[in-house]
Symmetry: C2
Subunit: 315 residues, 2 copies
Amino acid sequence: MAKRIFVGIDLGGTSIKTGICDEEGNLLKVGEGATETELGTERVLDNIVACARKIVDESEFSWDQVAGVGAGIPGFMDAEAGIVHFAPNLPLTNVPVRKILEDKLGKRVAIANDANVAALGESWSGAGKGVPIVVTYTLGTGVGGGIVVNGSILQGGTGMAGEFGHMTVVPDLEAIQCNCGKMGCLETVSSATGISRMAVDAVKRGDNTMLADLPQITAKDVFDAARAGDETAHRIIQRAAHYLGKSMAMVAIVVNPNRFIIGGGVSKAGDTLLNPVREAFRQFALPRAQENVEIVAAKLGNNAGVIGAAGLCLR
Amino acid sequence: MAKRIFVGIDLGGTSIKTGICDEEGNLLKVGEGATETELGTERVLDNIVACARKIVDESEFSWDQVAGVGAGIPGFMDAEAGIVHFAPNLPLTNVPVRKILEDKLGKRVAIANDANVAALGESWSGAGKGVPIVVTYTLGTGVGGGIVVNGSILQGGTGMAGEFGHMTVVPDLEAIQCNCGKMGCLETVSSATGISRMAVDAVKRGDNTMLADLPQITAKDVFDAARAGDETAHRIIQRAAHYLGKSMAMVAIVVNPNRFIIGGGVSKAGDTLLNPVREAFRQFALPRAQENVEIVAAKLGNNAGVIGAAGLCLR
């Protein structure tokens, strides 16, 4: 019998990333196409279909070998029903994406939120391989996340499980308002945006820091400065890591994972970030919920999305 | 074919409560026996076996109709392996309880933590019946909890999932130390012990309250005083409810349940407690994670334990 393959789609506002995986989660081929968001719903869906067909056509595999197609989509959806309710950067408001793609592709299709899909990818064949309960934090513009229990994404009642960025962890006296309207969300301090914002505040306040010389300050600049011995940058990283570890301590006694995986752009800082996160986690977590819990960096980088999407069809 | 029945055991430090349930979670009969903790491990296990046999013997059902026996145990365990690691009030340290009971009973046996089992009971045939994702808080001496996803308990990697009592929710400036050693745990303010402690503190401080006349102050006294218009008691209940609602807001964006159920002795206060909890939940929860989420009182009372234990065998 010919090998079964799975096609993963990582849908973004600008590009559609594609991948072919085998049943073990090995990424065999990657591809990319344009989303063409501005051309509307139908065009975006047709582009997804074209990208899925193209990567298989250009591979050593035949379309008959495709056992399923999965798509990670940045938005709010009923993953089980396959309906995207709202996606901030895509023309997909109340669109039955799964049904449409199944009709056009003639294959079984599964969809899920992009952060959840990345968590599934890391759990299936990345830093969480073989681990029963995995929690992934994705630190980028915001803070996303996902929970994978024995190979399945925990979606939640309305698809909102794993939205760690909106846990209230910053004390009132130092809290600022989040984009969501609430005060003290994790995202306000531990995202790339949050780290950059704290640096800009420090410079405005006149703190002594090498960051003051930069025209714009990115999270990467803050990590670089911290590693170069800048005290202000170091304090900002400590703060971002502190609240991240504190939120993990709470997640540890809610779902009690075996492993936390930190991914997204900010995670490239490695141990400069991870060590203070581990320290805060130990400070706040119930001793019994710390046992055998590891906090590690993600392994798959940008490929977590297409691998996890391919993996959606296996469940 | 004869009806299949399930025997549930709710093991306590003093008594062993038993129940017979049908496949739909209807409680058909209840019983009780002594634990005799002081007589050691073997005696406790023999008493469980005797209680399980006795309730069936005294019923209209035959032993052959028993499809499984489940036991809820107050302690730390590997539920999947069936081994109790440590139970504060029972002689069950590293005891393979499931294997021993299976050998003695000749039936399939399942065990789980008592708070998780109570959550399963409410989810199966109580206030969470028919609801996909249910989170239960049990407010008693401490604050316990459980998460049930599509009829299965989420145990966590080391059996610590649902330990909501140790979420850090009280700000540093007003936090006290919890029995677990950490500061600001939910349990320090929202358990019966926490409510009573806050009342004792208020009386010591000289606050104007009718509670000052009582020789001892229970959580029930505080609720009664609040209902009678006592301002101090009212403030204490608001505080207990506030942090409970705040912790639920965080659980709502971690596992995103469809329904929260509040059980345990403290929950008897009804809407005096639930209304301010709902208010705090709305204040802290991400709007999209609040949609279609209900906060309700438990329905099964003390029977949640035996019903949930019986339900363990259905999964």
